[in-house]
Structures are given as C-alpha cells and as structure tokens.
Subunit: 318 residues, 2 copies
C-alpha cells in the first residue's frame, strides 16, 4: 500500500442514489433534515438529488427545493445528478456546486437507464460543459461516473479497454473528474486496483471517485484496492440505501458508517464523526419506517480504544 | 499486490466457532449432514468441533461423534479446537487430523476465555506438542491462533510487539502454524498487512491463517490486506455464524460464501463450488430455524458472466 492518501473524501450519495431506488418518497422536509444532519456529522460532499423527469422518478421531484436548502449549509459541496442538458439546466438554476453525470459503458444498460448510447451520453457531457462555461457568475464543477465499469447485470462482461476509452472521451468532452462506478456490484479488488491504476495513467488528476455497490458484500474490500491505487474520493450511502432499477439484483451502495469506520481505523482522515453520523441514520428510520437498512457499525459500540485518524499524529504505515 | 498466492485455502469454522456461540445446539445428525455438504461443496479443511467441558459448552458435547463421522469423508482435513492437554487427548482419541489451540494475547480475554494466562496457554501448547510427538501411529498437526491479536473488547488495545513475541513463543513451543485471530472484529487493513508481514518475517513458513470476525463489517477488507501480505489460509463460517461469548459485541466470523466469491472473483482458486455451498447453507436454515445468518452472495444470483478462477488460465495481475 504505497499510494494511500492520508486525507480522503467520503461523498454521501444516499439522498440521491439511495432515495431514488426505493419505492416510497422521503418527504422533502425530512430530506432536508437528513442532509443537515449529515453535514453536522462532517460530510463535506453530499449528492442531494437527481434532475430527471418527475414522471420517471417521483422520489426526486423535489430536487430543486432540496438543493436550495442544502446550499444554505456552510461548508458543504452540494452535488446533484443530471443525465442530460435539460437536467443540468435545472440543476444550475437550483444552485448546485457540482453536477454529476452518468455515462454507462454497457450499451444495454445505457439504453435502459439513460435511453442513449454511450456516445450520445458523451455528447450530453459536452453540452453541459458548454453550459457551465457560459455561466456568467458561479463556477460549477462537472463530474462524470462511468456506470457498469466493472460489469453489467444486463450485458455481463464489459470491456476494460472500452471503459478506459470512454473515460478519455468523457474527459475530453469536459468533465473535470471521471470516476468508475460498480453499478451491479460485480467488481473485485484485483480488477479495481488494475482499472483505477489504469484510469490514473490515462487521466492523471482527472481520475475521479470510486462508486461501489455492495450487492455481493465486496464493497469495502474494493475500497482497500482502490485506496491502493491512489483513489481519494469514495461514494457511499448512509444505511446502504440504494441500487439501480435497471440493474436487477443490485442492492445499495456501500454503507457510509462502515466506510468511515474503515478509513478512520486505517489512519485516513475523513473529518466525519461516527457518533453524529449514527444520529443522522435515525432520521432515515423515522422518515422511512420499516425500510431495509444495512451496515455493521450501527449494531454495536465503537471498539474499546478506538481513535480517529485525525486525533493521531501517526503517519500511515506502508 | 505482489505476494498474492494463486491457490488459497478456505478453512470452514462454522461447525465449531459458529455453533459454539449460539444458544441452541444443532442436533448431531444435522451437524454431520452439514459437514458432509460442506465437503461436497469443495471445502478441504473443516473445524468440526471443540473439545471443551460439555458443562461449559453443551453445544460441543458431541465433538467425538462429529469428528468420527467427518474423518470418514475422503479428502477432508478434520480440525478440532482444544484449549488444553485434556481436550487434545480427547481430540486425538476421536481421530482428528489437526488440533487447533487458542492462545490469547489479551490477558483479560485469556483469563475470561481460557482461565489461563497467555504464558500458561503456551505451556499447554508445549504439552500437546509432546502428546502429538509421542503418538505411535498417526501424525497429527498442531496449529495455534493468537486470539485478540488486533485488539480486545475487554482490554482495548493489545500491543503488537507482544503479539509477535507470543507468536514466536508459541512456535517454539511446537505449533506447526501460528495464525492471527481478530476475535473482536477490531482489525483494519493497514494493521492486518503490517502484522501479517511481521508475522511472516518472524515465523517464515510457520506463519498461519487469518481469522477475521465481521463485527464492524470489515472482514473482507481485511482479507484483501492479508492476501497482500501473503496469507494463504482464511477461516470463515458459513452464514457468518459465530462470535465469542467472552468478547461482548463480537458477531460472527466472515461469511464463507462471500469470502469464496471474493477469492474466486480475484482469480484465486479455492476449489469451492458456490452453488453447492449455498445448498449447504440450507441445512443450517433447516436445522436451526430462525437463527440469524449473514452474507450477501446468498441473496442474489451470481453475476452474469461470472467465471471461477479454476476455470481460467489467467495469471493474477499484480
């Protein structure tokens, strides 16, 4: 473990990836309360909604309102997903800091999820780049995650060289950061290390976040491999909420609580307070009673002698 | 990942570590059926029971009978735990292939779990070594796991240099293999890599298995780090059954199904068939209805395009 960074970013995607993949909608005021509690726990990047058609995803119909409320929280970078120019225009109007766009490597998944080919999705990235560049005032960051980068539940195997080619196309189209997303939960640590290493070789500082799902329970194992490849930003969802309606069998994202425990235990600073994070979890339970939540850290007390990375001076042993 | 072996051993500890830590006893005939099904799935090392006082652990009162039945399965190495000479004598008489002995690094845990100091436990190892050496016929292997090697829920931090010192003492006392056990589930990948690397430096070929619990959901992440340090044998429990009655809050071992998925996905050969392994899981559900089981692989289908490591010629990318 030679490239492991000391400061890592946990990017919370629960209010977007989590909530868009359960049947019920969380009431708007509860979403806002949840996002505030996440910020209170120390989360500094929160993806709060998705600017898609409310007909397709009624759970995300209040994205404008949640973005506006989140934007008032000091120190939080507010992310929202937009699959196309139209969504990006709404996101800009609502006041996001960062637009995240999905570009799927699997053609089948791309058609099912985005109703576009991968090449058409790249074209949308180019258009959103132009939109951002033409804004008179606020600078908005544009990030892309390559969905199904490690395999697809519709198509099966996805060519790694095609994923890299697509990542380069997306960067050239204007994304400031291109990450790899394991939409179906198929990734393994060997593949993760190989692909993020390759991504960094291709994109340099534009190599972006790791987005892992925990379908087969492999999420944190994949995080270890991604850290080893120098990845510094990890998406996660509180309580493991999430999935993908067009990737059958895909359960939620990796669990924020367990990820923070992993990173802090390893001596990597997240800036997140686990006890406050567990307080935030209670809001989901109140707002969505009976909803299936995941994770281990929430079931027990922190270890006797547990020390946060930020509370120690130690450098990370290699 | 430079030291990753291509062939790894998954050592099933469910019939011992799992069953001794739940309240009910699994009926003897069901235990035997379960062990046979595990062997059928390709498990080649199975820890089938514990030779402790039946007053203390009535769930293990039938250890002799289970060992005898397991010994009749061709190709399976039958392990049983013995905390002291008396237990080892019973294990030998029943016909085990391998005796496993726990030696706890935490003094508090050692007194609570074994009613001995660590030094007294090492003395028991020496006596059992002598017992094995004096056997006229069958050669029995002696393995030790250092319990609470990564921290203790009673004592808190455990000195890493003491763990190494103890491992060396245990090897000198005659253990053929000395592993490290995360009894409380406190381990993190940085620590795991550091300690197994050090263990190998101290013990060479006698450096033994990694035994992880999943209390904080970190088990498979720790496996990745242990692989990176060259560990070749991993304990796991089907369905994640297990824990430790003297380590409050410790839930089960890492889940065999999810571990096998991890290893095979990484291109490491376990010789285990996941579908047959999931068949074996059904026996637990039948024999212990309502018992809490864990794991992700059992909840969904194998990935589209999933290939076992043994079915491919690929060498492991580093």
């Amino acid at each position: 473990m030679t490239n492991v960074p000391v400061d890592v970013v946990v990017s919370e995607v629960g209010p977007r990836d989590g909530l868009q993949n359960i049947k019920r909608a969380m009431p708007t005021d509860q979403k806002i309360r949840w996002v505030a509690a996440l910020a209170e726990a120390g989360l500094r990047e929160i993806e709060v909604g998705s600017f898609v058609s409310p007909k397709l995803l009624p759970q995300m119909a209040d994205a404008e309102e949640v973005v506006r409320a989140a934007s008032r929280i000091p120190g939080v970078v507010v992310l929202a997903l937009a699959p196309n120019l139209k969504g990006a225009e709404r996101a800009v109007a609502a006041g996001v800091d960062t637009i995240t766009m999905p570009v799927s490597a699997s053609r089948e998944h791309s058609m099912a999820n985005l109703r576009m080919t991968p090449e058409e999705a790249v074209e949308q990235v180019r258009k959103v780049r132009r939109l951002c560049d033409e804004l008179p005032s606020k600078k908005i960051r544009l990030e892309v995650g390559i969905s199904t980068a490690f395999g697809c539940s519709l198509q099966g195997l996805v060519s790694e060289s095609w994923v890299m080619e697509l990542a380069v196309l997306v960067a050239k189209a204007g994304a400031e950061s291109v990450g790899l997303s394991d939409t179906a939960g198929y990734a393994n640590p060997t593949q993760v290390k190989r692909m993020f290493t390759q991504l960094k070789r291709e994109l340099g500082d534009k190599a972006g976040a790791a987005h892992f799902h925990n379908t087969y329970g492999q999420g944190l194992a994949n995080v270890v491999a991604a850290l080893d490849a120098g990845v510094k930003t990890f998406d996660a969802s509180q309580g493991g909420l999430g999935g993908c309606p067009y990737a059958p069998g895909a359960t939620g994202n990796i669990v924020t609580e367990d990820l923070v425990f992993l990173l802090e235990s390893m001596g990597l600073r997240t800036g997140i307070d686990l006890e406050r994070l567990l307080e935030a979890r209670k809001i989901i339970i109140e707002a969505l009673p009976g909803e299936q939540l995941y994770g281990h850290v929430s079931n027990t007390e922190l270890p006797k002698g547990f020390v946060y990375a930020s509370a120690t001076d130690r450098s990370v042993p290699v």
